[in-house]
């Protein structure tokens, strides 16, 4: 196919970029390995490992169990607001975790809406902290992702097959066995491993809702080893544990998940005959409330305080916007360059792996060990944040850009070569229009993720240099929950605007 990319697609920039990624990853890793040496994990570390796995397994199961009926209902029903709901499903993916958690606390906290309702009918209160809180938050963030993956699966079922099942009058059971079952068998493993990998690296959620010894993930344990105990040796050991765990899951994910599945779709509704309408309506209503209530809560709690926000919040916002624009630009440059080179050397796609396997805190730990004590950790805070976020967004960007590039080269490469197009024309008139939507989406995802990230910065930041998520965290910590909610609202608004702007500007005409 596009094996011979020809002189029109330069390979060297991509190779250099890939080498840079390799260097940026291997140097901190080597530092980790050297520091960890022969140190063995202690009982607390094993406990963190067990908890990390346990909550990830439960979160994954919960997300899948809830997503299947939801995706099914969305695939078969047409109702007013369906498009809005499908759009809402895309929000948690680019929503800053801390803002989502804040919204969840307003809804599920002891004084929240749900418990107010439970108290009114005399039921005991639910706590949003500990394992159940972590599961709740993971469900909020991952249910939409899985639902969209499954919805695509449902929409990919050939219409003839559905009609045939209908004209054969298959029983619901046989219908499931022959149509939905095989689709789920094909789509679920990929969805499961993606959610599992995301939950393994969960930091912000565990930081706010977990934290006690009973609910400490490896990521959080790394943070604590730094900020609480100053034990770089333990941080290194924990980092290697985390790397092994997430690296394995990431490799499986890379292998299982078909390309470009992350792309949004708002496709057709399958014509459906028969019952289950009440069940579907209930599922859709509950899901819409569950996903929108935290957002509404952030809006309601935050809006009154926005005008009174202290200057420190606006400074943090300016810093965060700067960082995320830098990250978005870097991600597009790197993904574009590497994708071009990957046309010739498909193995280069492996540069996506560090972003999946190397969590920001592990990377941060490694970088710290590299420069300590020559440089102060604060000097590291911003570069490390940019690096971690760039690496984290790279897999998404490659997954979005590479297939489109391959398609464009396969479709037009020969014709362009035979016409003797110059490289400039080839890039500007052929490749750019073909890649534009993918590049925009990649930039949008990268900017939004960087905007909401709370990882490396939490490790190293000093009092003056906070990103917006960290500032929200600090406001929450100093019981200024109204200001925290207002800052979270600003954060959400900026994240969604950045995502929307990138996606919008480059959308197909």
């Amino acid at each position: 196919m596009a094996r011979r990319a020809g002189p029109l697609t330069p390979v060297w920039p991509g190779l250099v970029l890939a080498a840079l990624v390799a260097l940026a990853v291997t140097a901190p890793l080597a530092a980790l390995l050297a520091r960890a040496g022969t140190a063995a994990p202690g009982p607390a570390d094993w406990a963190a490992l067990r908890f990390t796995l346990w909550q990830a397994v439960l979160s994954t199961l919960l997300s899948l169990i809830c997503a299947i009926p939801l995706a099914r209902a969305l695939a078969r029903r047409r109702f007013p607001g369906r498009d809005a709901l499908v759009l809402l499903l895309g929000v948690p993916f680019v929503l800053p975790v801390i803002a989502g958690v804040l919204g969840l606390l307003a809804v599920f906290g002891r004084n929240g809406w749900i418990n107010a309702g439970l108290a009114a009918v005399g039921l005991p209160a639910l706590s949003p902290y500990g394992l159940q809180g972590i599961l709740l938050a993971h469900l909020f963030f991952n249910l939409p992702l899985v639902t969209r993956m499954l919805l695509q699966g449902w929409q990919a079922i050939p219409a003839e097959r559905l009609r045939m099942a209908e004209s054969l009058a298959l029983t619901p059971r046989a219908r499931f066995a022959h149509i939905e079952g095989p689709m789920l068998r094909a789509v679920l493993p990929g969805a499961a491993v993606v959610v599992f990998t995301l939950c393994l690296s969960s930091f912000s959620v565990a930081l706010i809702l977990g934290g006690g010894p009973g609910a400490t993930t490896l990521e959080l344990a790394i943070y604590q080893a730094f900020r609480f105990d100053f034990a770089p040796d333990r941080a290194a050991v924990l980092g290697l544990l985390q790397l092994t765990l997430v690296g394995t899951a990431g490799l499986v994910a890379l292998w299982l998940v078909p390309a470009a599945q992350a792309e949004a779709s708002r496709g057709r509704v399958l014509r459906h005959w028969g019952g289950g309408r009440g069940f579907d309506a209930a599922i859709i209503t509950i899901a819409a409330l569950f996903l929108s209530a935290p957002l509404v809560a952030v809006l309601l709690r935050g809006a009154p305080g926005v005008v009174d926000l202290p200057p420190s919040v606006w400074r943090a916002a300016a810093l965060s916007v700067t960082l995320s624009v830098v990250v978005a630009a870097l991600v597009v440059i790197m993904a574009g360059g590497i994708a071009l080179a990957a046309l010739r050397f498909p193995l280069l796609e492996i540069t996506a792996l560090p972003g999946l396997a190397l969590s920001p805190l592990v990377l941060g730990t490694g970088l710290f060990l590299l420069v300590y004590p020559r440089l102060s950790p604060e000097a590291l805070a911003l570069p490390a944040t940019v690096l971690a976020n760039t690496l984290a967004a790279l897999p998404f960007a490659l997954r979005l850009i590479l297939p489109r590039l391959q398609q464009a080269v396969a479709d037009h490469g020969r014709l362009a070569a035979s016409l003797g197009l110059s490289r400039g024309i080839w890039f500007a008139r052929i490749l750019w229009p073909a890649l534009r939507p993918a590049i925009g989406l990649a930039a949008g995802v990268a900017a939004a993720l960087a905007m909401g990230d709370l990882g490396v910065i939490a490790l190293f930041a000093d009092a003056d240099r906070a990103t917006l998520p960290l500032q929200v965290m600090r406001l929450m910590g100093s019981y200024r929950s109204d200001a925290a909610a207002a800052a979270a609202l600003v954060l959400v608004a900026i994240s969604l605007t950045l995502f929307w702007a990138c996606e919008r500007v480059t959308r197909d005409a």
Binding site: R161, A169, T171, R173, H178
Partner: protein, 230 residues
């Protein structure tokens, strides 16, 4: 008897009307320019599209509101006629028992149907292990065991070459005659249409009443002439 009474299918971009009936056992080709609504008409008869007005009757009984699976018809599509994860046997069996559970007599019936379409010994193969023609035969075997009095074909076996397609059509006609079924075939192939005694011409928003195919092609109206490129 299939009776279309004042049928109207209205869509944002086009409207289709039909008002005619067919005797039991008729063999009808449905032809017309692409986009005119041939497949839509067939889908409406099968129950996949809702009527905007009018009614569809079968043997005098109104079936307009009946679910597709409860209508007295079997249908074959262009492709995706088989479930890829099921064997030939199980695909045919679904025509007999939509729940998937089969009695001993049912099993014998499925085996016999496969034999009748010339697929003895292929029962355990999956669609991917069969040629295009063999896949078509499996689908026809299923129509056979369904034993429905109305057989709808929507440009079937589109992936096959002309000779194989002719062979498949012959097989379906044979089976339809066996069980006394009415046959409706959507096609874009004039040769295929000419093999059937009756033809419905769909053009300019109307599905005309069935006419004798020979007479129609002997003196084609302007729409048919344009379609044939004469």
């Amino acid at each position: 008897m299939l009776d279309l009474r004042g049928v109207v299918l209205r869509y944002p971009d086009f409207t289709l009307t039909a008002d005619w009936h067919l005797p039991q056992g008729a063999e009808v080709a449905i032809i017309g320019p692409s986009g005119a609504g041939k497949s839509t008409l067939l889908a409406a008869i099968a129950g996949f599209e809702d009527l905007s007005a009018g009614a569809i009757l079968w043997q005098g009984r109104d079936i307009t509101r009946l679910r597709p699976g409860l209508r007295p018809m079997a249908m074959l599509f262009q492709d995706n006629n088989l479930f890829p994860h099921l064997t030939a046997f199980d695909n045919v069996a679904l025509g007999l028992a939509p729940s998937g559970r089969l009695s001993a007599a049912g099993r014998a019936q499925v085996t016999a149907a496969l034999a009748q379409v010339g697929l003895e010994g292929f029962a355990t193969r999956r669609p991917a292990q069969l040629s295009g023609g063999q896949q078509g035969r499996v689908a026809i075997a299923r129509v056979l065991v369904q034993q429905r009095p109305l057989i709808l074909l929507d440009e079937p076996f589109a992936a096959l070459g002309p000779a194989l397609r002719r062979e498949m059509l012959g097989l379906v006609r044979h089976i339809a005659q066996d069980i006394g079924a009415t046959l409706l075939l959507v096609t874009h192939d004039a040769t295929e249409a000419r093999a059937l005694p009756l033809t419905v011409l769909v053009s300019e928003g109307q599905a005309a009443a069935p006419m004798a195919t020979d007479a129609l092609f002997a003196d084609p109206p302007p729409a048919l002439r344009a379609w044939l490129g004469q």
